[in-house]
Each structure stands twice: as C-alpha cells, then as structure tokens.
C-alpha cells in the first residue's frame, strides 16, 4: 500500500517539475532569511511577553502588632526590626528605619498590603516603661493608632524547579537614581539608539584593541536583556548578530520604559546556593535586606556594579572589586553632572553595607515550612505554589521558634551529660501554639532544627502514655450524673479478659492506693483506677472523646488505649490539648492565616473556627485537675523552673521501658507539647517529668507566658467534700477538700461524717477552750 502511494505521487510531481522547479528555488532562497527573521521575532516576543516570570511563593511570619499595655521586651522589638531590615539611625524618617532614646523608640514603618487592610507608612513614637509599651503615637497627627502593625518577616520561599528568584518591580517604583546609574554605567545612549549602538561598539573595539584584552562591551541594555533571556556562555559572532537583530526587533515593538522595566526585573545579579538572584528588586533584599525604594545612592551604585558580572563583583566575596567598581560609577555620575560632586565624594567613602547572607532574609525553619506546605498542598497545585508569586501569611513567630529550638537542643545535650543512662543520639520534637486560637507559633522537628529531614513534630508517631488520660477523665466528667471530681475510684488489682489474653494494668510505682478520689487518680496518674473507670464507661466512649478532641487517625478499639498504648504524633497531641485549652471547643490547629495572589487579592483565608465538642463545665473540671497535676502531682518539678503563679494545666507521659517522654500543657496564652525519645524506639531512660517536662519549662520560662486563670462557668460551684466518700461534707468532717462541682449534679446524700457525732465531739472540745 505505501509503495503504490509513493509511485502515484512521484508520477504527479514529475509532470509539474519543469514549471515548479524554479519557483521553488526562488521561494526557498528568498524566504529563508524572512523565515529566520520570523523565527527570531517569534522567539524574542515570546520571551518578552509570552513568558510569565515564574515567581516563587513568599512565606511570611505573623506580623508583630504593638499596642499600649503590651508586654514586649524592647530587645524583642529590636530583634523584629532587625529581621525586617529596619535601619537604625538618628533621624528615622524614611520607611524602614528606627531610632531609640532609652525607653522611647521612633520608627517609620513600611507600607504593606495585608489580606484585610493596607497599612500605610507612618512615623510612630513608641514609649516603654518597665518592659511594657505605655504609649504609641502617630507623629504626623499626634493621635494614638490603637494598634501598630509592622510588616511581616519573610521566612521562606517555595521555588520552581529552575530556582530563579525575583521580586518584580514596576518601572515607576524604581528609584530614578538607579535608572540614571544603570544608563550611565551601561548604555549612555539608551534613550537615543534603536537597539544597538554602533558608536559604542566601535569605541569598545578601540579600547579593547588598545588594551589587548576585553575591557569594554559595546552592548546596549536592550542587547544585554536579549542575552539574559537566552543565557549561554557561547560568544560567537553568530550569537552576537542574532542578539543584535532581536534587540532591534524589541526596540521596534516596545517602548524604552517597557524594555527598561523588563531589564530591571530580568538581569541576573547573584547566586545563593541553588537560588538564582534575578532583578534589582530581589537583589536589593538579598544584599541590603530592604526594598528597592529604600536604597541610598552608594547602595544603588553597588547593585549597578553587579551588572558587569555578579560573581566577579560579588560584594560578599570580593568587596574590594565591588568598591572600586561602585566608586567608578559614582565618579561617572558626578562627571556627567547627574549628581553633585560633593555628594559623590560622601557616597564614595561610605562602606558597602552589605548584610551577611541569610541574616534576616530567610529564616531557616524547615519543620514549620513543612507544616505550611502540607496544608497548602491540600488546597493548591504544586506548580501554582512555585510559580504564581503567591503570598502566604503564616502564624509563625520567629522569636518563639528560636526559643523552642534552643530549649530542645540545649536540654537534650544537658540530659545526655547529666544522666549516664540517657543514650546518645536522643531526639525530640516540640510544638508551641497560641492556646486561645490554635495558631501554630513554632515547630521543631529534631535537636538539629536546620536539618530538613525527618520532621518528628509531625511524623514521629509514638506511644503517648498518660498524656492520653485527660481524654479518659473528660469522658467521665461529661457524665456528671455518674462521675464528679470526688467520685471514689478503686485502686486495687485488676484483671481484664481480652480476646487475646489477660490485661493487668499496673501503676507506675507498682503499688495500689486503695480508694482514691477521681481527681487524685488523675493528679498522680494512677493507671489502675483510670483503667477500671474507663472499662466501666466503655472503651468506645473514650475513643469517641479522643476523636472529638481532634484526633483523626484510625484508632484500634483495645482496652490499653485508655492508658495511652496508642501511637500519636506530637502535633496530634497538641491538637487534643488545644481543644481542652479552649474549654471544650475544637479549634483546628492552623499554620496559615491567608493566601494572597500576585496582585494582593485574597485567594483563601483560613479563619478561626470553633466547634463545641465537650461540655464547657466538664472541661473546666478537667483543666482544674490538670492544674493540680502540675502543682501537686506528677508535674510538680515544673515549678522548680518557672513561677507557680502561671498555674499551668498539664500532663506528663511516660511509656513502657521509658521509651517515650512526653509533656503537654498550657498557660493562659501558650500551649506546648514536647516529646523526647530515640528514633529506633529503644529506651530513652527518661520519664515525662525528667525529660520532656524540663524542655517545656525551658521554653515557657523564656516566653511572656501569662497565668492560666480558668473562666469558671456559671454552672460550677465549689463545695466541701469528704475525702473518704467524696460526698458533701461540713466542718464536722476531719478530712475534707474543696472541689468544683456542676451545681445541678451535687450529690444529695451527705457524707456520714457531716453533722454527725464526730462533728459534735469536736464542737464540744472547741467549746471547752472558749
């Protein structure tokens, strides 16, 4: 079949050949250049406008908000301003600058577009007294702003595969000085030529012949831009000719402003590991840690120096070369009358002022970024994340992250030193959240927080031990007709028949304590009465509560789960405690507040949401007991580290053979979960109190924690109960406690001692003394 077709074609062609042959030749030779030009045109136009710059997503920390009455150490404010690259100066009147006179700060903020409103640039006076902000004044109007919201610190970026990074700027945002310097240094005839500058090429040729080496390039900015689009090191004449043709084409199609804007955003200006620094917008941040609009003359000249070779003139590696080139540009500007001579001289003696790499630019917190990315991947395509220039506003707190990292690493090393039994390579994880709204403030995935590997805070799924017990007790307290804090539980040998054998729970101290009130059993973390109570209630009910508290993982219905024989990750434990901290309201942990698109339009918000999952009164009783667990029970060593006024509610957790050490707890503003253990699940030889609790204390001790004052629901009343029976008592009973009860469920039956003989005897004795 194919053969026959071929022959038939040949036949038809051969007939026409005499007519077509010449025409074809003319067409081919005549059209080749045209075709080629068309091709070049297509290439350059496609690059200039067809290609959208793939913009990495920017990830921001929470913005710091200042207000009168706020406790914020001045050092923390300075830290934040430094991370943001605010310049310390005696006259802080430019955006992104600040000054200080003892307790008074003067600062001019940067304008910033947030998801809910735009913060204008303003000059403020912030007055401190005793570590508390006393007054904030807007200098222009002498008014008090209520809240001063700073711009947020950039904590990371999500890159496309080629790792090109840039911050796009519009031509009218570019300082006039930069354009002047660029044109002066690179292409003085920019506004006059049509893409190529014959005189400049000739001049460069002469200079280079004279010197015997390549000193000058005759390329116009337009040619340089074209060259940047097709970055190759290949320097052939053919290449140059192509570039020249494309440069002319660009000039024909676009105006000077468009070409300049494209140049300013495209040009390669440095390298940061895999990340390629493109454009002046990003270079300004990369080298000076401030936006382009805040650059001063010498800094502008420095950036323009880099155009000639970002690596050769790298101001961090070859400051002397950069300085020479910068000063040359400053001289040229003065010679051409673009700037005042004296101004140039002052600029020439100023230091380069380049910030150390990474310092303040990108905060390295891989474990937190991991959490952010996981949340984003649920809602966005990976390509959009790395190319659409999204702005992601997170809940990250740089200061708390730093404290948490240092506390975990420091305490782990200390434990290894202090206890011979603690193995080397002990690992750990920690999470800190805002106990009132579920925002994740810090995540540390291991003792080496800069290692972006195994993120233990999210992925170390380990037995939780007694940290699960609050869920068991909340299940019980949610049945107020049956259980209250005084309910007597039996702590005596227990054997439970399961389908694959007997379960005989034991207490940590291997003793039995007879009859114990419910709250005491939790305070001292007794296993046997907890297990007995849970079996009474039903394991399914307890599991239901664990789920309501926010655990989404599939749980096996097995009795030992009520003593924590179930694996969870630290972040899951944090979620469970978050629900308790918020008084029985489930609040999903959130690491992102909002995502904006490239134009600042909101794409998605992750708002605060609450769902009532447990009775607030029952949760109050639980949290009251967890405060006692720290002040009187298993967590009491915490108050060797931090003040007991904080009234922390928390719970230790220790697993079989001391494999896992947990502490989870909350103050009035922070919730933190710490886990310590070995990656291979071998014994760490630490209890919750000897290990994780100490890290927890280290973290909270360095934060501005406020006491946990439980809001007592209207349904709660404090009553005196008899310790032996858990029934309402009066002062004729010897051994009593004051416990909170749900009013409607206070037992009607009085304790035997109440109003009884013993009471009368005491009364008589007391009477004798009168």
């Amino acid at each position: 079949m194919p053969v026959s077709r071929k022959t038939s074609r040949k036949g038809s062609r051969s007939k026409k050949r005499p007519v077509n042959w010449k025409l074809r030749l003319v067409l081919i030779f005549g059209s080749v250049p045209l075709l080629y030009l068309g091709y070049l045109y297509f290439l350059i136009v496609h690059n200039f406008e067809g290609r959208r710059w793939a913009l990495p997503a920017s990830v921001y920390a929470r913005p710091l908000e200042l207000y009168e009455g706020m406790t914020l150490h001045p050092r923390q404010l300075i830290n934040e301003l430094e991370r943001l690259g605010y310049r310390y100066t005696v006259s802080p009147d430019q955006p992104g600058s600040y000054g200080r006179q003892d307790d008074v700060f003067y600062l001019t903020t940067r304008p910033f577009i947030f998801w809910d409103s735009t913060e204008p640039s303003r000059q403020y006076r912030v007055t401190y007294s005793g570590g508390v902000i006393r007054e904030i004044i807007i200098l222009s109007s002498n008014k008090r702003p209520g809240v001063l919201r700073l711009d947020p610190v950039l904590i990371g970026k999500i890159f496309p595969a080629h790792h090109e990074d840039r911050i796009l700027v519009k031509i009218d945002e570019v300082p006039e000085r930069l354009i002047q310097a660029l044109i002066t240094s690179e292409d003085r005839a920019f506004y006059d030529h049509h893409g190529i500058d014959i005189r400049a090429i000739f001049r460069a040729l002469m200079v280079n012949i004279k010197a015997g080496e390549t000193l000058q390039g005759g390329s116009t900015l337009t040619q340089q831009l074209v060259k940047n689009y097709f970055l190759t090191s290949d320097r052939t004449l053919w290449r140059k000719a192509n570039e020249a043709i494309m440069a002319i084409m660009l000039e024909l199609k676009y105006d000077k402003g468009e070409i300049l804007e494209s140049y300013i955003n495209e040009i390669y200006l440095g390298q940061d590991g895999k990340r390629a620094i493109h454009g002046f917008g990003l270079a300004s941040q990369f080298y000076f840690n401030k936006p382009l609009s805040e650059l001063r003359l010498p800094e502008i000249a420095t950036l323009v120096s880099l155009v000639r070779g970002a690596s050769y003139y790298d101001p961090r590696r070859h400051p002397e070369r950069t300085l020479a080139r910068r000063n040359l540009i400053l001289n040229l500007l003065a010679q051409l009358g673009k700037i005042d001579k004296r101004y140039a001289e002052t600029a020439k003696v100023s230091p380069l002022g380049v910030v150390p790499k990474y310092d303040g630019l990108v905060i390295d917190a891989p474990a937190f970024m991991d959490l952010v990315k996981r949340q984003l991947r649920r809602d966005y395509h990976p390509e959009d994340l790395s190319s659409e220039g999204l702005r992601i506003f997170t809940t990250f707190d740089p200061y708390i992250q730093k404290v948490t990292e240092a506390s975990l690493a420091g305490r782990i090393s200390q434990l290894e030193k202090d206890f011979a039994s603690v193995p080397k390579n002990l690992e750990g994880a920690a999470i800190v959240t805002d106990s009132n709204n579920g925002e994740v403030l810090a995540v540390v995935g291991g003792r080496n927080p800069k290692f972006a590997g195994f993120n233990r805070a999210l992925d170390a799924v380990r037995q939780v031990g007694s940290t699960i017990k609050p869920a068991v007790y909340l299940t019980a307290l949610s049945m107020p007709e049956k259980y209250n804090l005084g309910t007597i539980l039996e702590d005596s040998p227990l054997t439970y028949q399961t389908h694959d054998g007997e379960w005989k729970p034991r207490n940590y101290d291997d003793k039995f304590h007879g009859n114990v009130p419910l709250y005491q059993a939790l305070i001292h973390s007794y296993n046997v009465p907890t297990a007995r109570m849970a079996l009474d209630i039903g394991v399914e009910e307890v599991i239901k509560m664990i789920r309501q508290l926010g655990i989404r993982r599939a749980l096996t219905i097995y009795p030992s789960i009520v003593l924590g024989a179930t694996p969870l990750s630290p972040i899951e434990v944090a979620q469970m405690y978050q629900t308790m901290a918020s008084g029985g309201f489930y609040m999903p942990l959130r690491s992102i507040r909002a995502v904006l698109d490239v134009n600042g339009e909101p794409l998605s918000r992750y708002p605060l949401s609450v769902e009532r999952v447990a009775d607030p009164s029952a949760t109050y009783l639980l949290n009251w007991t967890l405060q006692k667990a720290v002040s009187e029970g298993t967590g009491s060593v915490l108050y060797n580290q931090i003040p007991d006024e904080l009234q922390v509610a928390g719970k230790t957790g220790t697993t079989d053979d001391l494999r896992d050490s947990w502490f989870a707890g909350f103050t009035g503003n922070y919730l933190a979960v710490v886990w310590l253990g070995m990656d291979d699940n071998s014994p760490a030889n630490l209890t919750g109190a000897t290990g994780a609790l100490r890290v927890w204390g280290d973290i909270i001790g360095k934060l501005d924690a406020v006491p946990l004052v439980l809001e007592r629901p209207a349904e709660i009343e404090n009553i005196i109960v008899d310790n032996d029976t858990g029934l309402p008592a009066d002062d004729s009973c010897f051994s009593t406690s004051v416990l909170p009860f749900i009013k409607a469920y206070i037992p009607e039956e009085q304790a035997p001692c109440a109003g009884g003989v013993r009471g009368n005897v005491i009364k008589k004795i007391m009477d004798w003394f009168k």
């Binding site: 068309g38 796009l168 134009n599 006491p707 004052v709």
Partner: protein, 197 residues
C-alpha cells in the same frame, strides 16, 4: 501537503513580523501589568493618597457617633477584671472593633472577621469579640460557625447576665436560620430571663 504547510508557516511568520513592525501594539503592556504588581510594599507616594481617607475622612465622624455605642455594647467585655490570656490593650481592641465595623459596613465581611481575629489575639477571653465574630458568620450564612462562636462567647460571659442575654438573642437568630423553631423559642426565653424583663 508538506509544501503547503511550509508556505503557510512562512506566510504566518512573515505576517506576524510585518504586523509587529507596522503597528507597535500596546496590548502587551496591559497583560504584563497584571504580572508586575508583585511587591507587597506599596510606594509611599501611592499611600499618600490613601492616608487622608483612613485618617481624616470618615474616621472622626465615625468615632464620635460611635461613642455611646462603645460605652454600651462593648462594655460587657471590658468592665470585668482581666481574664487569663488577656494582656491589656483595651484601646487597641476598641480601635480594631471600630475598624471591623467599618469593613463590615462596606460589605467586606471576611476582612471584618479577620480584624476581629486580630482583636481576639489581644483579648482572647473577651466574650464581646466572640459574639461579634459569631454575628458576622451568621450574616454570611455560616450557621455552624456562628453556632460554635456563640457558644464560645457564652462560655466566657459567665458573670455578665446582660451580655448573656444578648448572646441568647444571637443564638435565637442562629436557630431560626437553622430552621429550629423550638430552639429559637427556648433561646428567646433564656434571653428575656437574663435581661430581667
């Protein structure tokens, strides 16, 4: 066939080239404009226009007309002694409440909610803020959210019968939205009991 395609391609490219030369089209600028507005830091000169609106424009008249209201309806959250988690900042919270109402009044419900969240970070135990957030969610038709937020407000307003009465009123509205007539009636009863009527 192949010939024709070549010819077509040549023609196409040539025409593109020629048209490009002949008429420099302004269109690409517009397209690019969308992609170039990336810098979240706005220019001071652009801001200069925005400031008067925010600072002078409606603000002064707004706050004066609002004085009684802040004394009345906000007082619930502020007269009580400071609860745990709250770090002062009454003025800050009032200014954010005002901003939130302003945003709400121009239909920016999500922004209004975000502003209330800022206030809640300062005073997480202030029931008025939770109540306001619940109200916004109700207005947006997010009844489940409104329900949870109202319950949270209620749990924090234990010692403030007047505020509890108002929250029950809100709960009644939510119940009505949910089609729960019985629940609505019960909530209204509670509301009037607490208001002492």
């Amino acid at each position: 066939m192949v010939n024709q395609m070549y010819r077509l391609l040549i023609l196409c490219l040539a025409s593109v080239y020629l048209s490009g030369c002949a008429s420099p089209s302004p269109a690409p600028v517009e397209e690019r404009a969308a992609a170039t507005v990336v810098n979240p830091y706005v220019l001071p000169k652009q801001q200069a226009r925005a400031i008067p609106l925010e600072e002078n424009g409606s603000s002064s008249s707004y706050s004066s007309e609002n004085n009684d209201r802040s004394n009345d309806s906000y007082s619930g959250g502020f007269t009580d002694d400071r609860s745990s988690g709250d770090t002062g900042g009454n003025d800050a919270v009032i200014s954010l409440l005002e901003l939130s109402e302003k945003q709400e009044s121009v239909g920016r419900q999500d922004a209004a909610a975000a502003t209330l969240e800022r206030a809640l970070r300062i005073q997480p135990q202030n029931p008025v803020l939770w109540q306001r957030l619940a109200q916004i969610r109700l207005n947006q038709g997010q009844l489940d959210q409104a329900d949870g937020l109202a319950a949270k407000a209620m749990a924090l307003a234990a010692n403030n019968p007047k505020l509890r009465s108002r929250i029950w009123q809100l709960v009644a509205d939510i119940r009505r939205g949910q089609g729960d007539i019985e629940g609505e009636r019960a909530a209204l009863v509670k509301s009037s009991e607490l208001s002492g009527d």
